[in-house]
Symmetry: C2
DNA sequence: TCCTTCCATTAACAATTGTAAAGAAATGAG
DNA sequence: CTCATTTCTTTACAATTGTTAATGGAAGGA
């Protein structure tokens, strides 16, 4: 149950068995069905999730339609980070895309961990740094690439998601409409012939 | 000389006088002229900068032309972060826009600080978290706003930079061409009449 | 101060994207 | 298994952006 979590943590810090069990005891297992809302826009996110199985989507609600901010898959930490970190009302919503198995830690438990497990500061620092680098890579794709190139890169890196996530959700993640993405798919498919 | 730095640090952690002097001793003051290259694309960034006065721009070099990744102003830490954090060759370049006064800390000195000043982990974690939230806000503007709205927001938040930074540098930061930004400026100016 | 380089705007045209709507196919809940 | 809902694609048109080029003006180095 905690294998994937320990495997991720081990990439950043080395923990003793004792420290591992302190870490484990801070999390609670939770299985949630498809389309289950974990954070609603306007609420304060007070949980952080580690995904054992399934997928989450973080999205904005923009007068009626939903714009994907990020897609979380297995073995990632997920949350509405801005809300969770600042403990302020979330401008994003978080929902499952599939039936999902989560390890849940509350904001309060995390603060306790900073005390009982000093290495936790290093761990979260490195994870925050990595998230920043990731955000910067996505941003760079908006600055440097055409929508067509951005879609092509997405397929290269996350091609499997095309079969797992509705296309209009991917389209909004790539900053385009489903119509435009369909045209791009058409163009790229014809180039390959 | 260290006033602005201490002021920023105080927003995240409380340091004793002794800790403050440890922090100070890790930095070196450096004044650099306009258009001075601090990190060249391909190099490994091994310095982090705190800006006392002046401005830096972080940019990509895309077959000949330069695309702004970020604009750093006074009282901010600046670096080619991906390169600095991973100690890998930088895909970005970092340059001064004006004559600039910097406090410089090396990657090695930073690792020493993590040992001699444990609170430094907390400080850098919180700064990394803040940078992530900032990156996410910028990204959300690409997902949610039209180029016109993105320009309008920029003016609202950083209007003074229009007089301080060449427009084509701002345009590429906003993900558009200088021509398109000029048209948008024209449109918005006419709406106000 | 002079001169070269850089910079912002405008114009015209091509290409791409957004919007709205409709139909066919796939999917999930009961 | 069936039916309502969701999802993907296509079409036509409007709007916006990119591209290239030219001009006038500003700015900075010698």
């Amino acid at each position: 149950m905690f294998d994937a979590l320990h495997h991720l943590v081990a990439q950043f810090v080395t923990l003793s068995d004792r420290e591992k069990s302190i870490l484990e005891s801070a999390f609670v297992f939770k299985q949630v069905p498809r389309k289950f809302p974990l954070v609603k826009h306007g609420q304060i996110a007070n949980e952080l999730y580690f995904i054992n199985k399934g997928m989450l989507r973080l999205f904005y609600e923009n007068d009626g339609d939903e714009i994907t901010a990020y897609l979380f898959r297995e073995n990632l930490f997920a949350s509405s980070y801005d809300s969770f970190l600042r403990q302020a009302p979330s401008i994003q919503s978080l929902e499952t895309l599939e039936e999902t198995d989560l390890l849940v830690i509350t904001h309060q438990k995390m603060n306790e961990l900073y005390e009982t497990l000093p290495k936790f500061n290093i761990l979260t620092r490195k994870i925050a740094e990595q998230r920043f680098i990731n955000a910067q890579q996505i941003l760079s794709s908006f600055l440097l690439d055409s929508p067509e190139a951005r879609y092509a890169k997405f397929v290269e890196q996350n091609g499997d998601l095309l079969l797992r996530v509705p296309h209009h959700i991917i389209a909004s993640y790539l900053g385009m409409t489903p119509v435009s993405m369909s045209r791009i798919r058409n163009r790229l498919a014809q180039q390959k012939r």
